[in-house]
């Protein structure tokens, strides 16, 4: 059943993608209407969709730092410790 559902969704990737974009847009718009009195800093109150930008930035930074760090010699071939 689950397999069929996944296959069904995979056959309609474009639709799934648009649905995801729809959800993201909804979340951002809804977040603007949320009471920000619990916010910790001014940035959260002033910048609309602050946490969206923060999430996207974080994700990009993690990926890029990991890539740069790995390429800088940390990622070694698998038999590195073998003699």
């Amino acid at each position: 059943m689950i397999i069929n559902l996944i296959d069904y969704l995979r056959d309609r990737l474009q639709t799934v993608k648009y649905c995801c974009y729809g959800v993201m847009t909804f979340i951002v718009i809804w977040s603007m209407s949320v009471d920000t009195s619990h916010a910790h800093t001014w940035a959260e109150k002033m910048i609309p969709g602050f946490w969206s930008l923060f999430g996207l930035g974080s994700c990009a930074i993690v990926i890029m730092v990991a890539r740069w760090y790995g390429k800088s010699g940390i990622q070694a071939r698998e038999d590195y410790y073998d003699n």
């Binding site: 949320v34 920000t36 946490w51 999430g55 994700c59 993690v62 890539r67």
Partner: protein
């Protein structure tokens, strides 16, 4: 009211000792019963807070049973995880794995209820040694080497802890395991903290974790991921809460772990890095030290044991059925292992802190505590890591294992299947609890150690914050996914220093030292031995000609005199002989009388 105190660890130990005797159809019910009894004992104890099991040993008072709110919540989750782990591993025939696992759980429970350093140390070492056997049980060369590394690192940690509490005993005469004076730390405070910190895998003492957990057996890793680090978090809460350096270490740890998790190819190592990262939250919480932060650390440890156990169970299922654990050898498995996929996704979403999941209600406590303590940098850094966590465990891992490019060999694909009923049951219980905790917050919140704070995770602002971070992390992953594809590599880490250091030591022994030794023996052979030979030749000559000559000469002399006397005195004439004899006797007689 007096209650009968039976230490939960004792049930596990006796159970483990009797396990080899229980065979055939009784084995499985027995294996279910022992952790269940332990769990019931823990619940019974939590109704009766107090101090039990106090013994006098030499000059010291050993306390085996300190039951308070903090030990209750940790005891509860450890005993619960013991049940889940045992159910998951029930099909394994090798009884040594179960015995090691149960001794390991007993060690953890022993540490949690211990109220003095000697008892703590006893169980601390029991944990380290028992868990080593869970690695060795894999029975291949890699696991053997990893097991040795693991036990050596933990022995080092144990020695540092021992040094710390012995110094403290010398300075204060106190062995009780209580909050240390972290405002003005002494050398022993640091040593105790480092000893405990090593078990929590705080950098730079963390490399043993991904190394060992990825080499252990499937059920070994399920047990290991729950007990060592979280017991260490418990001990840190108990002794070092409010120690400021832990905030920095915790945040560094959270970031460090997530960067390595994103680079990792081995799924169980990836999960190991995730543990480092998640335990970072708890360590930071301990460092912040407010009531909310300590509650957060305890809650996160509780939730973490369940979702990480679930993730390791799912990874163990993949390993058990396919024999593979590298992302470059897996992929597209949703068609073959749909149940495992669901469990892994639930675990991944729980660790990422999706609302209605356990991670959401625990992680946010620590982040909120950081913001409330005006540690904005820590709060933002931990939120940053939660985006990374969703990326590594909630998106990248399930995507590359179950969807994505199919890297399976024909054999892997053929063998891939959902695991046996007991493994699925273990995962189902874990998954249920991950969702249950997230949906019904009082279950966890009522158990938390500090009752003076209340926390409500489900407010609109917090929900919008989490959903935004997660949604846009997902978007970021979709856009940048080609940069996080798995590669056939291993990531070098702090263990490089001791692995290569060990090699350098071996090289030093093998090359310069051995060369010196060989040279010395050659020198000895050519110079020493010939000197010795010459000397001994001289003495042999001296002995032969000097000493023997003297002795032989004397003997020859006596013989010659004897012969001459015989010739002169004994000529064969009887009268002469009688005459000589009587004269000699007369001379003797006269001499005797006169003298």
């Amino acid at each position: 009211m007096t209650i009968s105190f039976i230490h939960p660890a004792l049930i596990m130990i006796v159970g483990a000792c009797l396990l080899p005797l229980v065979r055939g159809p009784f084995r499985k019910p027995y294996m279910f019963l022992v952790p269940l009894l332990t769990f019931i004992d823990v619940i019974y104890l939590s109704q009766h807070a107090g101090t039990y099991g106090v013994f006098q040993f030499m000059n010291w008072e050993l306390t085996f049973g300190r039951v308070d709110r903090l030990s209750m919540i940790f005891g509860f989750i450890m005993a619960l995880m013991a049940i889940i782990g045992t159910i998951y591993g029930m099909h394994v025939e090798d009884e040594w794995q179960h015995i090691a696992a149960w001794f390991y759980v007993a060690g953890s429970l022993g540490v949690i209820y211990a109220a003095d350093y000697i008892t703590l140390f006893l169980f601390w070492e029991m944990m380290a040694f028992a868990s080593t056997f869970l690695i060795w049980a894999r029975k291949n060369d890699e696991a053997l080497a990893a097991g040795y590394r693991y036990i050596l690192v933990h022995t080092f940690g144990g020695v540092v802890l021992l040094l710390g509490f012995v110094l403290r005993y010398q300075a204060t005469g106190d062995l009780s395991f209580v909050q240390l004076d972290v405002a003005s730390p002494e050398l022993y405070t640091w040593l105790i903290m480092i000893g405990l910190m090593l078990n929590a895998a705080v950098p730079p003492l963390h490399s043993w974790l991904p190394d060992a957990y990825s080499k252990a057996t499937a059920i070994g890793a399920v047990f290991m991921c729950a007990f060592t680090t979280k017991t260490a978090v418990y001990t840190l809460i108990r002794s070092c809460s409010g120690f400021e350096v832990l905030i920095y270490l915790g945040v560094i740890m959270a970031i460090y772990g997530i960067i390595y998790a994103v680079m990792e190819n081995d799924i169980r190592k990836l999960l190991g890095w995730e543990i480092v990262s998640q335990v970072g939250y708890m360590v930071a919480g301990v460092g912040i030290g407010t009531s909310l932060a300590i509650n957060g650390a305890a809650a996160h440890a509780f939730a973490h044991i369940l979702y990480k156990g679930l993730l390791f169970m799912a990874a163990g299922s993949i390993l058990t059925t396919t024999g593979r654990q590298k992302l470059t050898e897996l992929g597209g498995l949703y068609k073959k292992m749909p149940a495992t996929m669901i469990f892994m996704i639930i675990g991944g979403l729980a660790v990422s802190g999706l609302p209605l999941m356990s991670g959401f209600i625990s992680k946010s406590m620590i982040i909120t505590a950081a913001f409330e303590s005006h540690l904005l940098w820590a709060g933002f850094a931990l939120t940053f890591v939660s985006a990374g966590t969703f990326l590594a465990a909630g998106l990248r891992l399930p995507y590359l294992v179950f969807f994505g490019k199919n890297n399976c060999s024909e054999e892997t694909w053929k063998n891939a299947d959902d695991p046996s009923w007991n493994m699925q049951l273990g995962m189902a219980i874990g998954a249920f609890l991950c969702i249950f905790l997230g949906c019904y917050t009082p279950f966890l919140y009522n158990m938390l150690p500090n009752t003076d704070v209340v926390f409500h995770p489900y407010n609109a602002y917090h929900l919008s914050e989490t959903l935004q971070v997660m949604a846009f992390t997902g978007f970021g992953f979709y856009m940048l996914r080609k940069y996080v594809m798995p590669q056939n590599t291993i990531s070098l880490d702090m263990d490089w220093f001791y692995r290569m250091g060990g090699r350098a030591f071996l090289w030093t022994v093998k090359n310069p030292l051995q060369w010196f030794d060989t040279a010395l023996s050659k020198f000895y052979k050519s110079v020493g031995i010939s000197c010795l030979m010459t000397t001994s030749r001289f003495w042999s000559w001296f002995d032969w000609n000097g000493i023997d000559g003297l002795v032989d000469g004397t003997a020859r002399c006596v013989r010659a005199i004897g012969r001459r006397a015989t010739i002169v005195l004994q000529r064969g004439n009887i009268q002469q002989t009688i005459y000589y004899t009587v004269s000699f006797a007369a001379v003797l007689l006269v001499a005797y009388v006169w003298l």
